[in-house]
């Protein structure tokens, strides 16, 4: 018979604290399985010799989240109206931007984060894309994720295009004139696309509200959906080893017959007992 020692007071207190913390988590887990899901998402195995370059995707995701959060807050103060303010004779949209930048508490910071973060997001997407290309991580079975990534990049550029008009100053206006007319020179459907983007024959109030809606609702929604798919595939297919690695994780084995391609995933050597770690 084992001797059970009476737990000390500190042990009891610790046990109580643990129960207190675990109770809501257990409650959630029992009803949704979400705790396990998050654990599965965050604490998954990756190749042992993973590289810092492989954090660029997460960095791009973080940049997107910064854009989303600062954008939501900017939308609380921004007014997408091309009408002229009778008191000052200036366009309302432009005045609201001036108000955010010069008068509202920390407005300069949040707008600055959104403005410069936009470039950071695009640059990080390109760096991530370069990493995936140079590591050969786009190869079978990850081609689809490359395609989804390209769509995210295109959507990000559309965010840049639509967001550029919103300050409604001369730069914004004429850059959008040129950008829309550039679309208009595409053969056959170009003129129709340009008129759809303008919401009419000339850039005006409808163009501004339209770009605002696209910029803050339509395209971000599409990006969120695409990022979800992108991450799903990352989790399903796993992370690739760097090309210099002797670890074969995620790489096409040369000596394996093509019939081995029948499944999406294949046994990863280091996951087997006695395999390379």
């Amino acid at each position: 018979m084992a001797i059970t020692r009476k737990p000390t007071k500190a042990q009891l207190r610790r046990q109580k604290m643990e129960e207190l913390v675990m109770y809501p988590l257990d409650w959630l887990e029992e009803r949704s399985g979400l705790v396990g899901g998050v654990r599965y998402f965050l604490f998954r195995n990756v190749p042992a010799d993973i590289n810092w370059m492989q954090t660029l995707g997460s960095a791009a995701l973080t940049a997107f989240l910064v854009q989303a959060i600062t954008g939501v807050i900017l939308a609380m103060y921004y007014d997408p109206s091309a009408a002229t303010d009778p008191a000052t004779g200036k366009p309302v949209a432009w005045e609201s931007i001036v108000n955010i930048t010069d008068h509202l508490f920390m407005g300069w910071l949040v707008r600055g984060m959104h403005k410069w973060g936009a470039s950071v997001f695009i640059i990080l997407m390109f760096l991530h894309m370069g990493r995936v290309f140079l590591f050969g991580a786009y190869k079978y079975p990850r081609e689809l994720n490359w395609i989804i990534g390209v769509l995210i990049l295109v959507m990000g550029m559309m965010e840049g295009f639509t967001g550029y008009l919103l300050p409604w100053d001369q730069t914004a206006y004429w850059a959008s004139v040129v950008g829309i007319n550039l679309n208009g020179t595409a053969p056959f459907l170009g003129p129709w696309l340009a008129q759809f983007l303008r919401g009419g024959q000339e850039i005006g109030g409808e163009t501004l509200t339209r770009f605002y809606s696209l910029h803050m609702l339509v395209i971000p929604g599409a990006i969120i959906a695409l990022i979800t798919l992108h991450l799903y595939l990352v989790i399903r297919l796993g992370v690739t080893s760097p090309p210099w690695s002797k670890d074969a994780a995620g790489r096409e084995p040369v000596d394996e017959p093509s019939s081995a391609r029948s499944g999406l995933t294949r046994p990863v050597p280091h996951a087997e007992p006695g395999g390379r770690q």
Partner: protein, 338 residues
């Protein structure tokens, strides 16, 4: 129809033998209707309608109270269970032994429309119809207004006398006063003086009115030459129904675009840079001695100058679109313009 299977469970069986509880009473609904009538009556006719509503509420309220207190008063309402004749479990449903005749279950061909397959199809089909009924008008609302209801705007630039004959002006005006300053446009205007109409041979005023939208990508072209203050000529400001119209005298040697360096001569012909045709022009009319701008048309090139210029006109095309030569076939159909 599957017959109701009697449960072999005796405990279940005994449940059926117990007297059933009464169904939920309907009296509260009558009571609620009475209250509604009272409230409506308060708005319409407090004396008559509200009294009727009150009566309804009281009657149904009493009935409800009578029901609710039945047990307390020792008069429980008992509903006898409904009884039906039942068959023995599986009676007449036994499958023949597999080695005796045919298959135990009727064979359902793959192509047969079973109930589940029909329901699957119906759900998908109905869902598609509902989705279409919602999506089509909404998508139309998103796309079509930009193409339909595009109004033609007439722009009043003021009396003809303001335009000195042979002098170019940089005119700025609001095309659509309801849109305000965002629809302010610029045109280069020259009064060519009276000229013979080619058809009627009558002497009519002639104007060259060139839009300042570069036909490369739509930037505003500038006049290459001195303007008002340098020339020592006054800038004309007028107030018409198109807002403030400004006429700034200019002596252009041509027009240049600041964005990508397109250059045009004084009649709007392309001389250098990326533009694909000559600058667009405004049609015009003279109404009661005033110059009225009409819609824009595109021009491939202009031969000659002033009133004698031969203008090769085309339907209004977007910047960067060829209107002549083989490249015009890249843009066979433009959206409707005014």
């Amino acid at each position: 129809m599957e017959p109701e299977q009697p449960s072999p469970d005796t405990e279940q069986e005994s449940l059926h033998e117990e007297p059933h509880l009464p169904p939920p009473t309907l009296w509260p609904i009558g009571f609620a209707i009475g209250i509604v009538v009272v409230l409506v009556g308060l708005v319409i006719n407090p004396e008559l309608i509200s009294s009727i509503g009150g009566a309804i509420a009281i009657v149904f309220g009493l009935l409800w109270a009578r029901d609710a207190t039945a047990e307390l008063r020792g008069h429980p309402i008992v509903v006898e269970p409904e009884r039906r004749e039942t068959r023995e479990a599986g009676e007449g449903m036994t499958a023949p032994p597999a080695d005796q005749q045919g298959v135990a279950l009727p064979h359902v061909p793959e192509t047969a429309v079973t109930r589940s397959r029909f329901l699957e199809g119906a759900t998908l089909g109905l869902g598609g119809v509902i989705g279409g009924v919602i999506t089509v008008p909404v998508a139309g609302f998103m796309v079509l207004p930009g193409f339909l209801s595009q109004k033609q705007h007439k722009v009043d630039l003021g009396p003809l006398e303001k335009f000195t004959q042979g002098q170019w002006y940089v005119a700025t005006f609001v095309v659509d006063p309801t849109q305000g300053e965002v629809s302010r446009r610029t045109a280069f205007i020259r009064n060519n003086g009276p000229a013979a109409d080619p058809k009627t041979k009558k002497s009519v005023p002639s104007f060259s009115i060139i839009s300042n939208h570069c036909v490369h990508l739509g930037c505003p072209v500038q006049a290459n030459g001195p303007t008002g203050s340098i020339l020592g000529m006054p800038t004309v400001i007028e107030h018409t129904k198109n807002g403030r119209v400004k006429l700034d005298p200019v002596v252009p040697a041509g027009y240049g675009c600041p964005c990508h360096g397109g250059q045009y001569d004084v009649e709007g012909n392309r001389v250098a840079g990326p533009p694909v045709r000559a600058l667009d022009r405004y049609a015009f009319e003279i109404d009661n001695g005033r110059l009225i701008l009409l819609s824009i048309y595109s021009v491939s090139h202009v031969v000659g100058t002033g009133a004698q210029a031969k203008i090769y006109k085309y339907k209004d095309a977007g910047p960067g679109e060829h209107v002549d030569g083989p490249e015009q076939w890249l843009y066979p159909l433009n959206p409707p313009h005014h």
